[in-house]
């Protein structure tokens, strides 16, 4: 009998310790926001910027904060990807971030639904700041999920069209295209072949052409990704069919998938000075506002023009809109210094001068309505195009989803199959894509 009870005791102790281990791994925080932000404290801030100029800009933004809040010190960690941030948010601990910023707005749904970042609604309320009147509409949208505002916008990105003015002149084109049919004609006119390849390609339509992703094309068709019940709308909303058809037409007319892919393999990389737009290898480029600074830095031997992306012919009156996304920031659920962390988030995202200064340094679009109008905003006159796209009420973004950007990857995957000719039936493909998106969401819940 004593032996038996010892066995039971061992088994109990073992299961208790396993249970303890298992719960210790769940990263649940019981701290809440009860730290005193007026006391001397140090918080960790992780961000994703990596270029030297950008890292310096973050440092000067934080220096401004520390000057205004002498008791709060900030340890900055640069060049953090979402994967690393996500893992650190789960691990917690002293070295883990209190405040994070991420480039991937697509991950907001995941951040909010998992509880990785705290809901900022109570903080905004306490500070008397109304997000709806502070941030532009699209940015206000992509920083929350299911009523949980776990993020705030920290600068924004707007997508438009870059074009080679010199090449346009040579081809006899006087103004940037406003509709997709004009765009098609111009892209063909601007394409100069050389043997089996190109001397100059009018436009690289393939989905592997970096920012030429499905969501960036589709923004011009104002799609609704999910219906009211949260089911994928990809097979129902004609915007998707129209978007895929347009892109496939461009691929076919500009030389076909294979020829374009082979040409693409010869091009320099997206973030380097040998980017094909800088070198004149492509005459038009779908890209974000940051490209202007990068392209000018590469000192191209042509004049750069900037315009909004074209719109479908039947939506000509909406010319001027575009795709909006941006960097987001939030407070870690594991943080024990959430009030101090909020002070930093509030400063970075709502202090007009701070936002303007940071936008000036990074060459991104400011993320508050006040900063967008600030006279302190300095920029190249062409940059105004992106500010206008950001402020355009018809501009769209992609909604947050419980599993982050998985639905966008699924749509893009179908795009690869369709552009290459592997998938032939568009309608059936869209139905399959919608089904896959719904299954993935059900799996994540």
């Amino acid at each position: 009998m004593p032996a038996m009870s010892r066995k039971v005791a061992v088994a109990l102790a073992a299961s208790a310790s396993i249970a303890l281990l298992a719960t210790a791994c769940t990263g649940q925080s019981d701290a809440g926001a009860n730290d005193d932000a007026s006391k001397d404290t140090t918080i960790n801030f992780w961000h994703a910027w990596s270029a030297p100029g950008e890292v310096k800009a973050v440092r000067s933004l934080v220096a401004g904060f520390e000057k205004a809040h002498p008791n709060i010190h900030v340890d900055i960690v640069a060049n953090m990807t979402d994967d690393k941030i996500n893992q650190a948010l789960r691990a917690g601990g002293d070295k883990a971030p209190d405040v994070i910023s991420s480039f991937t707005t697509n991950n907001v749904g995941k951040f909010c639904s998992s509880g990785a970042l705290v809901d900022l609604n109570p903080f905004f309320k306490k500070a008397g700041v109304d997000p709806a009147t502070t941030f532009p509409k699209a940015m206000n949208e992509y920083t929350q999920f299911d009523g949980n505002r776990c993020a705030a916008p920290l600068l924004g990105d707007a997508y438009g069209l870059y074009y080679n003015k010199t090449a346009f002149k040579k081809a006899g084109i006087t103004s940037p295209p406003k509709t997709w049919s004009e765009f098609e004609k111009d892209a063909k006119k601007l394409t100069l072949t050389k043997g089996d390849s190109y001397k100059q390609l009018g436009f690289m339509p393939n989905y592997h052409g970096w920012e030429s992703t499905t969501e960036h094309y589709f923004a011009q068709f104002s799609p609704t990704y999910f219906d009211r019940s949260g089911k994928s709308n990809v097979a129902e909303d004609p915007a998707f069919e129209a978007g895929f058809t347009l892109q496939k037409k461009l691929v076919d007319e500009l030389g076909g998938y294979k020829k374009l892919e082979t040409y693409r393999a010869t091009l320099g990389d997206e973030w380097g000075p040998k980017h094909p737009f800088h070198t004149g290898q492509v005459a038009m480029q779908l890209d974000g506002e940051w490209r202007l600074g990068m392209a000018e830095e590469a000192k191209p031997d042509f004049e750069i023009g900037v315009a909004p992306l074209p719109v479908p012919d039947d939506r000509a009156d909406q010319y001027g809109k575009g795709y909006i996304t941006g960097t987001i920031t939030g407070i870690a659920a594991t943080s024990k210094k959430q009030n101090a962390a909020w002070e930093l988030v509030k400063y970075m995202t709502t202090d007009t001068d701070a936002v303007v200064g940071f936008a000036n340094d990074i060459h991104n679009v400011p993320s508050t309505l006040a900063a967008l109008k600030s006279p302190k905003l300095t920029y190249d006159p062409r940059f105004k195009t992106f500010l206008d796209i950001a402020a355009d009420p018809n501009s769209t973004t992609t909604p947050a989803s419980v599993n982050g950007g998985v639905y966008l990857v699924t749509i893009q995957e179908f795009g690869y199959a369709y552009e290459s000719g592997r998938a032939k039936d568009l309608k059936a493909g869209l139905a399959g894509t919608a089904k896959q998106i719904d299954t993935d969401i059900a799996q994540a819940k």
């Binding site: 719960t23 997206e270 799996q443």
Partner: protein, 313 residues
Amino acid sequence: MTTYTLRAKRRRAAFRTAAFMSPWLIGFTVFFAYPLISTVYFSFMHYDGFKPPTWSGTKNWTYVFEHYPLFWPALRNTLWLVLVMVSLRVVFGLGVGLLITKIKTGTGVFRTLFYLPYLAPPVAATMAFAFLLNPGTGPVDSILEKAGIPAPGWFNDPTWSKPALTLLALWGIGDLMVIFMAALLDVPQEQYEAAELDGASALQRFRYVTLPNISPIMMFAVVTGVIQTMQYYTQPLIAGKVASGVIQGAGTQFEPGYPDKSTLTLPQLVYNLGFQRFDYGSACVVALVLFALSMVFTAFLMRRRGGLIQAGD
């Protein structure tokens, strides 16, 4: 002697055995049994790393096998690599080993030349291959084109991406070459002499003397090769990333397995599901599939060893 003291003696003996075994036992429990049991446990749970895990039955299993679009392509690729890459690596490693043991002059130079690539870090080696095999600007294709041979798309063409990875693996054959060389030099010389006296041709000498002597090493090369290939992660990931043009960008969505899922392997899925989607349950399912596959392959090879490994090995 009473039963009591006998029992105490036995218990002491059992305790002693356990004490001597404890280093292994602890290692086995901490690094093998516990992770394996938790992997099985979590494969039946819904767990995202934040909220406490909840029981989800076989949901993760059906998701991976029926609804996760990357699973079957990744499994097919992994099997392809296990069959083609491992066999070619063994044949090629043995071939190079044979060649180097046979040549009379400059052995040192050749050994170094064949061994050096093995020391290249996998990321750098893959990037170098992606550069060499670039269908537009790479030197390999421009030479092929000049010779009038149709140049393949390599990492940009789904039918050529795995052969390109195999080429990369063959280039880094140094480890196997060294092992085979040691085994070949170990074959007793008198057996060759005897065979020669009996009038055996070079091919016969290889078949009846060399092969039986090095069969345990062949076995070792195949089993470790299978296990390595099951864990093949870095090279296909980097090749796919470089060829697709996605380096790391603001919010860039990465399509794993470019082109057309042809460079996707099972370990990439474990990362994708576990550390990108934070669906730990499904990641555990894929990990278990990998584990089961490794066990099946190894068991199969061990059963077949009768023909390969002779008595007394």
